[in-house]
């Protein structure tokens, strides 16, 4: 799959790298999670067969230095809307958000319900249930991350690190620097509790919604998907729970995710 990157500048003046796949079809915009885009993005590759797929990087991700202009949830949601504007799409896209990307996408749609044709939330952040506390990603040491995020921790670590060897000091430092940039940004909306009041705003979303969750998601277990479904009172949301997958379901079971999205996004 050929991936091109373009650079867009929002009206606020923030420059963003956007990964583009596909040549024709209705537009899909994918908002990545707190870990950023990985080396392999099988779901994006597959969707590009019949969609134009845009995957923008949040500030602080990819090659970008730590952002300084976004401080709170409203800033992030407005930045997401600015990105959609900057892409200059002629039709409203299908928006898909994974994890933190889902949280931002939901906030965007609550602010501006007509900006997307549909919304797919995959293992989305943004809610908190006392009985199911979300693990503290920010206090994890590197070797703990994969086993929290993936069903298969060994395979997961390879995906997270793109094959880097954590027993090598330079590799570990490189990962920690990147992680500090990414998670430093993410912390502005996820630390110490990944809840900035989205529950009270979900009623505003009116477009069709698909919820996709890994059955073994240890960050936001499927009960969070169910809670999203209950709180999305203005639209009928379907929850698809995927077997043999954790929080990183798009990477562990890409075929199942693609099948669910294809069944939902028919135009």
């Amino acid at each position: 799959m050929s991936v091109s990157t373009i650079s867009v500048t929002t009206r606020r003046g923030i420059e963003a790298t956007v990964h583009v796949r596909g040549t024709a079809g209705s537009p899909v915009v994918w908002f990545h999670g707190a870990g950023g885009l990985l080396a392999d993005e099988p779901v994006l590759d597959a969707l590009a067969a019949d969609h134009l797929v845009y995957a923008p990087e949040w500030p602080g991700y990819g090659a970008q230095e730590t952002e300084t202009e976004l401080y709170d949830m409203l800033d992030f949601a407005l930045h997401g809307l600015d990105l959609l504007d900057a892409l200059g799409l002629v039709v409203a896209p299908h928006v898909i958000g994974h994890s933190m990307g889902g949280m931002i996408a939901a906030e965007m749609l609550a602010l501006h319900p007509t900006v997307a044709t549909s919304l797919t939330l995959i293992g989305a952040a943004g809610l908190w249930i006392d009985e199911h506390p979300v693990p503290d990603l920010f206090s994890m040491v590197p070797f703990e991350l994969a086993k929290t995020l993936f069903v298969d921790a060994v395979a997961g670590e390879k995906m997270l690190t793109a094959g880097l060897d954590f027993t090598d000091d330079q590799a570990l430092i490189g990962f920690m620097v990147g992680n500090a940039r990414r998670m430093g940004t993410a912390g502005k909306i996820l630390f110490p509790i990944p809840n900035r009041g989205l529950a009270g705003r979900l009623y505003r979303i009116t477009c069709p919604i698909l919820l996709v969750w890994g059955r073994e998601d240890r960050m936001f277990p499927p009960v969070y998907g169910e809670r999203f479904r209950q709180l999305l009172t203005s639209t009928a949301a379907e929850l698809v729970v995927v077997d043999a997958a954790g929080h990183m379901v798009p990477y562990e079971q890409p075929d199942a995710v693609v099948a669910a999205v294809r069944a939902f996004v028919t135009v």
Binding site: T66, F143, L172, G187
Partner: protein, 435 residues
Amino acid sequence: MKFVWFNLQPWPHLPENFRQDYRSVWVDIPSHLFDPELAHEVYNTYLDQLEFADELGYDGIGCNEHHQNGYGLMPSPNIIAAALSRRTSNAAICVIGNSIVGYNPPTRVAEEFAMIDCISGGRLVAGFPVGTPMDTNFCLGQIPALTRDKYAESHELIIRAWTEPEPFAFDGRYTQLRHVNIWPRPVQQPRPPVFIPGGGSIETWDFCLDHDYNYSYLSFSGYKAGKSLMDGFWQRRAERGDRDDNPYRASFAQIIAVADTDAEAERLYAEHILYFFNNCLHVFPGFADPPGYRTLKTLKAGKLSQLRKETMELFQKLTWADLVESGAVIAGSPDTVAERMEDLARELRVGTVFCLMHTGNMPDWKTRYSTQLFAEKVMPRLQSIWSDYDASEWWCSPMAERRTNDAASMEAARRPVGPGDLIATDPIDGVEGVL
């Protein structure tokens, strides 16, 4: 030189195998290890020791802020400082300091420090740490990547609250107040001296130099390990060239233990200081470095091997020889300690030393013994080291006439009211009153 008697106020009853059995002394240390009734004795003993240091002539007595921490029992150092303000008369009250990012609104710090300054008659030395990630981020819930920005804003608000004579409105990103007008206000004008506990970032050095604050390097690694960092501070000052090289611009924390001989020092103190290093300094690495807290530059230079599973399970045991050799501990006879302390002062070019005289689970009598020997046999030999320099900008300026909180005046204040105290008539409203 100035000597501040300082104690982290550790919990002295951690179990023998604490490191193996629990993952961290800080943040998620189990509450069942704390015994409030034992703490009654622990706190009062620590306060006794601080008061004893005042009696012995230490220039200052100090406290600091940690939360959910088995080696630092002062989530509110201002409570300790308030108690000390009432029970001591001469020593500077060094609060090093308040984690100002965590106070909402930060004017609380300006107010409480002003109260301490009033009660103590102008003896406050005020510290403003950014705070460790363990305290500021994981215990107080502040966002790592915004911690420094919020610190800068909180600092500005506190200084303005102290120094601006008229009420003002403060429109900050993190704090908005329509009427800033603190009551009471500090005795020391325009403000009490400020100490900034910091690590090795150029930003912190510049911040201290810009404002003429004391740069306080408070680590447990000792003077040999602290040398390169302190050199960095002085080099930065020289590069800028806009500030003098007065040694009182800098302070350093050092674990010190004095006995009759070097051998006696080891025999008396080794087990207690080793308790601190081998039991108390056990912090889960995930709490030490939340993404966004440190600058990328600092991270790139860092040694991260402690983040490996194998290293975390190693639990290397330090020995007394390790600690003395590395300079983490200055211990021995008065001669030995005086000699090393002079090295410390001159090598690091520091005017003020935070003397960690009580360490780990050291019992009271040993602490007093060491504290007294240092005051009587070491301090006099070091006090004049920087006598060519004026410390006043980095030290408190107490009121010349202030209350003496000695035993006699304390007793007098508690004397029951007798017939001789009554006056016939209040001259204003005619009601009989009491003088």
